[in-house]
Symmetry: D2
Subunit: 350 residues, 4 copies
């Protein structure tokens, strides 16, 4: 057991927490040492998530009860806002610890952007400097050496993966990007709210956070950097009646001289050899169900009927590549494991 | 009974056919005189659609068996392509008959556009000239006098209603429109195809007909006319796991001097007093479930975070306002009935 | 307006409340005079249920604000337990008022049964004596003269309708009844609870309240009375991922000499001429989707492979015939209207 | 590679076929050597099931093209009826081959029962004698030595696992069993049929095959054997709107002297140490979503309110433990692998 990575999950009673357990319980190089859930401390994990009835898991505890001495790496699956202080405390108590944070707290490198989008000043500015934005494929080298990985948002990952290579290669107009990003319900978590009830979500669709969804800030940060100038995407999330999946439909205007085929080639080149990103043949659009339950992303590029626009489509499972799977992928990088270790689950379809 | 409008439904065994029955069976000024379904001729309608078990409906017959002498108006809910000849035959047999056609056959005024999008020359060019494109709110006067109303497509109606007023008023750039139009499954009809199976559609989402969906031709026709120039929308349909509803998320670039508020005002003005079109307060996006089962449309306008773009959202029930409801609305116009006659069903939510 | 029935709905912000609005807003003999929702008092109904955006409805108020002088009949769609006192107060203030109560408070005629199943003594015993159990088809005459109708539970109505005639006719063994009653989510109401979240309900099924669901008490009351002795059904509710519908699968052991065909004949005789109850041809099982959105019930009887058992199936929409539709049906009886007045909505399928 | 088991899947283009690929592609001791799909021969598996886009799989071929010399074990995921001859041919060509058959063809040991339920005489009676009914937990020893394992039906496995121990122990009355078995859509396969369309299945529930479903024959066979006499269950399947999962609600009458607690204890004893069968604490009912995607079964026993009946609930994923997972479990037995090899996938929830 001495060569296993000892891991704690803070916030194990939410969906990203349980998804971490699903992946890590079968990870050959990880030992799950602590699971926390402040309001459910004392309960067995199988009481909160009966799918784990057959596993031998630690009981839920408070964060304070976790023995950090026995922990190498912490996954934080806590609400944003409160996470900053929790992580600052972790490093204060054990400077050598590694953290993969699934909240939004350390995603924005610019403190002003944070304050603008989240409505209050950041509480751990020193730590923010050390955080690496955890799109595994784009920041692999930085993540390998990181003490704190800021796992990106689910919508963000879905759109950043296809758009960053296209912006870097100057193949699309940075100011004329429309993203409509349809998501299943599990991305909203397990808190009981009226608008998340089955009867409010089933058999219907609606846009939410229109013109102001906070993942926009992550898109801005990454698109500006990739484009080398200010980019602007209009980002509209839709809630659709399914549990898992994000599906971004991106309408892009081609840069002068670019073609839809060139976009496709650029994505194929960018993700050549990547185990989790699959670019479909030119002209094909993916389906979210074909990545469900897996850490995979499928990308498609289709030409519009005119010569100057293309439709780029990207899909992933919001709880896996959009959250806990990418978090494990980042842990693998931090710990020096194989990229695919513990992430071999194939998609479940139907 | 002499003052009732005598109506036949050709193609009553499909979903738009059954939806016509649902609406017309309770219409106070209509008598349902004939229902056809060539492959199911001889069966009782309640065998094909058991929800009608308690109604006293005519048995299903072939089209040839319909006694046109007793019919004032015909709804055609047949597949496109074959409909042209069927309708030409109807008028040949009874020139005074009125027809509301739910297929795509008479929607495109330009025969070349038809040939391009449908892959073969139109078979009833003379009749095409008489057809009126049946967006009830936009072509009310022409519909009133029409012998043949070409009921528009479900995606088309959803996007035409919000965009035509905005293009007419020159409030948005006609060349920079992105439409992502999410639809439920019932719009695809009742033919048994693998990709329409429950297991292929549930718990997932995908784009289809990307860059080439035929409803694009209807959008082009109406947007060009409204803009007074060539307009171009990129139109991407999504299939999402629900029965009913279309939800168009439109990213629009504002014309110089225009504001999102001006877009909202223009829609409010355009649909003031319209019984079926509701513009929500500025900044609110509608939900498809709030129009489900009704002939209502809900529109919303939201400003993007920057000054030059707006998100316009439109939703309706694809089988009602997107097909059979609008067909009845058009019948009301043709027959001189009150606009809302037989269309008072409130949305079913949850 | 003087000949309209003036109606108030207490608890209009829940699903049975909104369903009452859907039905009553189109009822030709009813005026909706007051809508209450204590926690949402002051809001417009369209803010709480945007499907009513186009209607001219009274604003939500507290119960105390309702001017009873202007009200002829009150629908109570409030949580059980608190309803007893509210209704007692109504009669205290206005003895001539009529009440249709959708809660469970007045359904059990036996105060001891109430105390046993609900865990506390009944608070309005005098009033309980006046209450009529509102299965419209079974207690039509009593309901006509009632001051207080206790609308039955959704599961209860679904099983009482097929089983009471069979027990009355001594066609089945009263001690060997198994009922598995699958329900959609809307029956649980709009309160935000974790177990009602979309992600907790979608793509799965589970039994709840096994061996102790409170609707069992209503079944006992009605089955004992019908059988003329103590009957005992095992009643197991299932929650399945749909919004609307209850589907009771009843396994019955035939009484000596009885046949499955005799059961079918008894149901046909019992409901002959009833506008809302349809007995399907012998051997056919109904589908819940064929009554969705309507006040209809569909019943089926199928023989088991052996000679001594039959499967009886019953389905209805839990919000309509299982709650608000039957409440309106009872109102029609109380007010002397036609039975079908305002209840002509056909099922929505698909 | 020499120590890998070389496997062919006949019928890889259906859902049980693709599920076998999902499980076997990650099985550490199996090499997938051949995939057949007669009508789709020549296509890549990723064209038929895009979730496998990143895998290196053999192309689809006809059955005739499979080189049996290179195959140790064949999974048959073909339609019933035709399978008999296919398997007879396999053994004729290579007597040493092992077969796990997922069709119904070899499940019934009694040829008369087969002829009665399937409407024609069995075509491979000699082979039928060698077939072992593959409920892994009940027939482990026989399966280990089998040349032909007849994988049981999905409904059958769900009810046999809880009921056989109870009948063996004489704890319940064999003649008074009611089973209502709710299933998701994927169990019906991928053939395009009207009644399997999304719009026909979503938002509704219905019973099918009432009084005559063929899985009843498997139940009879196993229940009679377990009870040591003729048993009789009334078995009613329900189709509910979800992809995966079977949920059997069993109403059982206790044998004289038995208690619900005794039933629970008997199940705990029967499945003690079984890796895939979990008996929940007494009084708890499982949820199908907690086994989704896994090879797990969850069982629950709840006392009815009276002393003489209990409700027994059993749930599994119809495509895993109900089909392909149990097939792999049986392959593990036949090949002498660890029982859990390749079957460690945890349930996906939400």
């Amino acid at each position: 057991m001495t060569d296993l990575l000892n891991v704690a999950i803070l916030g194990a009673s939410g969906y990203t927490g349980s998804e971490l357990v699903r992946l890590l319980a079968r990870h050959p190089k990880v030992a799950l040492k602590a699971l926390t859930a402040d309001r459910k401390a004392g309960q067995a994990m199988a009481d909160v998530f009966p799918q784990f009835a057959a596993l031998d898991l630690p009981r839920l505890t408070t964060i304070a009860e976790v023995d950090l001495a026995a922990i190498d790496l912490v996954f934080c699956a806590l609400p944003h806002g409160t996470t900053q202080q929790v992580i600052a405390d972790l490093f204060a108590k054990k400077p050598s610890i590694k953290v993969v944070d699934l909240s939004a707290d350390f995603r924005l490198a610019d403190p002003e952007a944070y304050a603008t989008w989240y409505g209050h000043p950041h509480q751990a500015l020193e730590l923010q400097k050390d955080a690496v934005f955890g799109v595994s494929e784009l920041y692999r080298d930085q993540i390998k050496g990181a003490k704190l990985v800021a796992n990106p948002g689910c919508h963000s990952t879905t759109s950043i993966l296809p758009l960053v290579p296209l912006l870097r290669e100057r193949l699309i107009e940075p100011d004329l990007i429309s993203i409509v990003s349809a998501t299943g319900m599990s991305g909203a978590g397990r808190a009981a709210k009226e608008e998340m009830l089955f009867s409010e979500v089933s058999e219907g669709v609606h846009a939410y956070g229109v013109g102001k969804h906070r993942h926009t800030a992550e898109l801005d940060q990454e698109f500006d950097k990739a484009a080398g100038r200010t980019a602007r995407a209009t980002f509209t999330p839709l809630l659709i009646p399914m549990n898992r999946g994000i599906y971004a439909t991106i309408t892009a205007t081609l840069a002068a001289g670019a073609t839809a085929e060139a976009l496709h080639a650029a994505l194929e080149a960018a993700y050549y050899g990547e185990p989790f990103v699959k670019v479909l043949p030119f002209g094909k659009a993916p389906q979210s169900r074909h990545v469900r339950g897996s850490n995979n992303v499928q990308l498609g590029v289709v030409a519009d009927r005119g010569p100057d626009r293309a439709i780029v489509v990207s899909t992933l499972d919001n709880l896996v590549k959009g959250a806990s799977g990418q978090a494990v992928q980042n842990m693998n990088l931090v710990a020096g494991f194989e990229a695919t270790e513990g992430l071999g689950q194939l998609a479940i379809f139907p």
